[in-house]
Subunit: 208 residues, 2 copies
C-alpha cells in the first residue's frame, strides 16, 4: 500500500536517518520503561549521545518524539502483519497479532502513552504519520474481526469496534505488568494466560 519510492540517498542523508532512528529507538525504550511523563528530553539526549539542542533540530517537541516512537512500533506491527502466512484464517491472524503485542510488551519494547494527557493527545491527533499508521492497522484488524464474526469464530453480538479496542488495549494491559512483577511465571506462560483470558474469557469452558 505504502509506495516506497526507490531511495537514492547521499551519505549525509543516510547519516541523518540513522541518527533519527537512534533517537526514536531511545525514546521507544524510555517510553516502555518509564512512560511519557517520567521520560525527560535530557535523558533521551544522553542515551543517544548528542546535545539536547540537537534533538530539537530533529523533533520540535517532546510530544513529537513520542509520536515518532508510536509510529515506529506501528510500522513494526505492519511488518509483522505483512509476514503472516497467506493461508491463515482471520481469527488465527488476530491471535498472532495479539500474541506479538504481548511479546513486545513483555520484552520491554512497547511504548505506552498516558491516555489522559491532553497536549500529547492533540499532538498525536495532528500527526499525519501517526494517524495514518493507526488507521491502516485499524483497517486491517477491523476487516479480520468482521470476517471472523461473519464466519462464526468471534462473538458477533459485540460491536467490531469494541473488539478492536480490546485488542489495542492489550498493548497497555496492566495484567501483564502485574504478572511479570510477581516473577511466578515465564513470559510464555503470561502470554498464554492473557491470550486465553482475552479470547476464551474467565468462565469455565462448557464441557463439549
Amino acid at each position: 500500500m505504502t509506495s516506497d519510492a526507490a531511495p537514492k540517498l547521499t551519505f549525509k542523508q543516510r547519516m541523518l536517518i540513522a541518527r533519527e532512528e537512534a533517537i526514536v529507538h531511545a525514546v521507544n525504550r524510555l517510553l516502555a520503561e518509564k512512560g511519557f511523563d517520567a521520560m525527560t528530553v535530557d535523558e533521551v539526549a544522553a542515551q543517544v549521545g548528542i546535545a539536547k539542542a540537537s534533538l530539537y533540530k530533529h523533533f520540535p517537541s517532546k510530544e513529537d518524539l513520542a509520536a515518532a516512537a508510536m509510529v515506529r512500533v506501528m510500522r513494526r506491527a505492519q511488518d509483522f502483519i505483512n509476514a503472516l502466512p497467506q493461508e491463515a484464517s482471520p481469527l488465527e491472524n488476530l491471535r498472532s497479532v495479539v500474541r506479538w503485542v504481548l511479546q513486545v510488551k513483555l520484552a520491554g519494547d512497547m511504548p505506552t502513552l498516558p491516555s489522559q494527557n491532553s497536549s500529547l493527545r492533540s499532538a498525536l491527533l495532528g500527526n499525519r504519520a501517526y494517524m495514518d499508521g493507526l488507521m491502516e492497522i485499524s483497517d486491517t484488524l477491523g476487516a479480520w474481526i468482521e470476517a471472523a464474526q461473519a464466519g462464526g469464530q468471534l462473538n458477533a453480538q459485540l460491536p467490531a469496534i469494541a473488539i478492536l479496542y480490546t485488542f489495542f488495549a492489550r498493548a497497555c494491559d496492566s495484567v501483564v505488568e502485574f504478572l511479570q512483577m510477581g516473577e511466578l511465571f515465564t513470559d510464555e506462560q503470561i502470554v498464554d494466560m492473557v491470550l486465553t483470558t482475552c479470547f476464551d474469557g474467565l468462565n469455565a469452558r462448557q464441557p463439549s
Copy 2:
C-alpha cells in the same frame, strides 16, 4: 473485621476529619480526571479552598495524597462488598464487584495511578492503610475466585492470581475510556460489553 471503636469526637476533631475528607475527595476526582502526574498540589488546594501549605499539614507529600484516595476507593469497594446479598454465589459476587468497578470508572470516580512511577510505588508499599485495604480486598476476591474455580464456574486452568489481576485491571481498562470517548454507546452498554468480554471472552459461544 475492622474494629471501629465507638467514636467520641470533639467538634474540632470532626472539623478536621471533614476537611481531610474534602481533601481526599478532591484528590479522588482529580486523579480520576487527569491522573497522578497531571494533577498538581496547587489544584488540589484550590479545589478544597485552602492554602497549599495547609494541605501539607495533613498529608506529607503528593504521594500520600494519592495513597489516601486509593484507600478511600478501596473502602468504598469494601462497603459495596459488605452490602452484597448473602445468598449470592461467588461468581455472582465477582460479577457484581466488576460491574461496580466499571460503573465507578464510567462515572469518572475511579482514581488511577501510573503503574510505572517508582516514587509513588514505594510510597504505596510503605503505606499501612493502603496495603491493608489492598490485602483485605484481595483476600475476599481471592476466596471467591477459588470457590468459583472449585465449583466449575471459573476456568480452573488459570492461576487464581491471574484472575484476580484481571479483575483489578478493569479499574484502569483503556477499553472503557476508548468506548466512552466514541460516544456511540451508553454507559450501561459499555458495562455489559466489558463484562461479556471479561467473563465470556471474544470467541463466539459454542452452540449448546
